[in-house]
């Protein structure tokens, strides 16, 4: 408040001066807005995020096919995309194992709350802790190999975890693994939306700081140049493992939230399809970029929603196509197109937009 008042005071004082000063004020304001662009964009983003449920109620009502519920799912995907991007886009480890943590964490939460009657919060905490522990156990040996070998080994992990979870379902004789004992408020789409997005905003904030701190710099150094990183005192094995564990924790949280969202856990969460979806998010959005993770998750998250609008099965001529199987095909196609035409991802578009703004701003300043 106080600073706003002084600013207005300044402006008033400048207004009373000559026209030349007035133009200067204009430039100063523009420059100030430019300097605060990150903060302003953040505020605007938070405001819109907060308003979305209200807008949704106004426009669609509860009968609409477009569901707020699906937006919550995109929030969950943002967490998973951040996780994959930290590991692959920042620390440059092409690990495909995140889907395993996604699935295992969802099953753990469901098992703890449904079968063992533990409170939901205990369940989610233990699921995330277990993901961290699994991250250490798996990451240690996995990170001894690199490049393609790491990708293949971790993909094996996903398949094994998926098969084991499926086996558990079969031996327990259940069709789907229902998540019971949810706190009542999470059954409401509005509350779930706010719950998920508060977590997303906090995580983005924390991850942003982590990536700009000593640990994040070490990850980027490993990506840019392992030799120099080691010569300047970065313990490669330790920092790769830290990236793996942070990624596992975030993915585990995303998996638990996904089970909360779907109110069920399914072995398809630890599958090749899920892995491709995670990869598509960071490649389409932009490797090594937080904005890219968010944009990629939105982009990839909307595809099943849009496809859901199509009638299923879809009749093309004499063919009957199950719409749900189109998803992975489209992710794969997106992945391919992004790698060929857009290797820096959607986030670079924003960077280009920013450069354009800066150029326009500079031109304004020199006039």
């Amino acid at each position: 408040m106080a600073s706003e008042q002084t600013r207005e005071g300044e402006l008033a004082a400048l207004d009373s001066a000559g026209s030349e000063t007035q133009r200067k004020t204009h430039v100063n304001l523009g420059q100030r807005l430019y300097a605060w662009r990150a903060g302003l964009a953040m505020l605007a983003g938070l405001f819109i995020l907060g308003l979305i449920p209200t807008i949704y109620d106004q426009i669609f009502g509860f009968s609409s096919g477009f569901q707020l519920h699906n937006l919550s799912m995109i929030g969950i995907l943002i967490i998973a995309a951040l996780a994959q991007n930290i590991l692959t886009g920042y620390a440059a480890q092409p690990s495909l194992g995140n889907a395993a943590f996604f699935g295992v964490s969802a099953y753990l939460l469901t098992w703890l709350t449904t079968d063992l009657n533990q409170p939901y919060w205990v369940g989610i905490l233990l699921a995330v802790l277990a993901s961290a522990l699994l991250g250490v156990i798996v990451g240690g040996p996995a990170l001894r190999v690199s490049g393609t070998y790491l990708a293949i080994a971790t993909l094996g992990l996903v398949t094994i975890a998926g098969a084991l979870l499926n086996l558990w379902d079969t031996t327990a004789g259940r069709q789907d693994y229902q998540l019971n004992n949810l706190p009542a408020f999470l059954g409401d789409d509005h509350a779930l939306y706010y719950f998920v997005f508060i977590i997303v905003v906090i995580l983005i904030f924390l991850v942003y700081h982590l990536l700009h701190a000593r640990v994040g710099r070490a990850w980027i150094a490993i990506r840019d140049n392992e030799t120099a990183a080691e010569a300047f005192g970065i313990n490669l094995a330790s920092y790769k493992l830290q990236a793996f564990v942070v990624s596992a924790v975030l993915t585990g949280l995303a998996g638990a939230l996904y089970a909360t969202w779907a109110q069920t856990a399914s072995s398809s969460m630890s599958s090749l399809d899920q892995t491709i979806a995670f990869l598509a998010m960071i490649v389409v959005g932009g490797l090594g970029s937080i904005t890219g993770s968010v944009l990629g998750a939105i982009f990839v998250g909307f595809i099943p929603i849009l496809l859901g609008q199509l009638p299923s099965p879809l009749a093309v001529g004499s063919f009957q196509i199950q719409v749900s199987i189109l998803n992975t095909g489209i992710y794969g196609l997106l992945l391919l197109l992004a790698l060929i035409f857009f290797p820096t991802g959607l986030s670079s578009l924003i960077g280009r937009g920013g450069n354009l703004l800066r150029r326009v701003g500079k031109r304004g300043g020199t006039q």
Binding site: L210, R214, G216, T227, A228, F232, G233, G288
Partner: protein
């Protein structure tokens, strides 16, 4: 100067490196005193960079010992050696190209900073304070090398000469006791070589840094080095004061072959005299 008689900062004994069947370094002994500028020269493939890589643990020698300030380096893992006070530049630069120049210098201070995962998550606290101090040191070092204007530019986008100096800044930012310079003059335009030689002496004077440099440019070697060691096929061919060593017939022969060496010997002596005139 009697640097060799002081207690050595770096003491290499019986260093042997094999690449498969190739003997890259054979029983090499080197003693480098604190505050000395020591040049390692020799034809391509003589094993000069291999010596630096052994000090940095990028290569594991087959035998030998490397003592640094009384500690056995070969027992330390690679990532601990920077913390002991060893900086390094690379022939191929090896900058963190996607980072800003300032972040390159922050990353180079990794060994002296403490904040870990949990501290890194916070927007305040000791981690941020320590980063602020590191940023200050980075800016000082950039200013010392006249690179302040590049601080916020991505390192990979700069011209080669600037990147080269940023590599040096990155090596010096921790104020290491020993800096390993791999061909600092390679790719530097001839008219700037004298300037580089002056800077090398300045860094030693201002920062008290011991320099171990690999260099092909004999003009620089003669101008700055206190002592020179010539390597050929992984063995020490000659060692001592630059003028004496570089006019040694065996050295010239290793570089140029028997016939050419005779013709150049005279010229080399003239060059060295020229340098000593320029110095006085």
């Amino acid at each position: 100067m009697n640097e060799s008689q002081k207690t050595p900062l770096l003491e290499i004994r019986g260093l042997t490196v094999r690449f498969g069947g190739l003997l890259a370094i054979n029983e090499l002994d080197l003693h480098i005193a604190e505050g000395e500028i020591f040049a390692l020269v020799g034809p391509n493939g003589a094993g000069k960079t291999t010596v630096l890589n052994c000090i940095n643990a990028l290569i594991k020698p087959a035998a030998g010992s490397i003592q640094f300030a009384g500690q056995e380096l070969l027992k330390q893992p690679a990532y601990k050696r920077a913390a002991l006070g060893i900086g390094r530049t690379f022939q191929q630069l090896q900058l963190f190209t996607s980072m800003s120049v300032l972040d390159n210098l922050l990353t180079a201070q990794h060994a002296h900073l403490r904040s870990g995962l949990l501290m890194g998550l916070l927007p305040f606290g000791p981690g941020k304070r320590e980063d602020a101090r590191a940023r200050e040191r980075a800016r000082e070092t950039l200013a010392l090398l006249g690179l302040a204007q590049y601080a916020d530019r991505p390192a990979g986008s700069l011209p080669f000469g600037a990147q080269k100096l940023i590599g040096v800044a990155r090596a010096l930012v921790l104020r290491p006791r020993l800096v390993l310079l791999d061909e600092p003059a390679a790719g530097v335009p001839p008219q700037e070589v004298d300037e580089l030689a002056a800077s090398l002496r300045n860094w030693r004077a201002e920062l008290g840094t011991t320099l171990l440099l690999i260099e092909h440019n004999m003009h620089i070697v003669q101008a700055v080095a206190d002592r020179v060691c010539v390597l050929d096929y992984g063995s020490k061919l000659a060692e001592g004061e630059p003028k004496a060593v570089l006019s040694n017939p065996a050295v010239l022969e290793a570089y140029l072959g028997r016939e050419a060496s005779k013709q150049v010997a005279q010229a080399a002596i003239e060059v060295s005299q020229g340098v000593s005139h320029a110095e006085s």
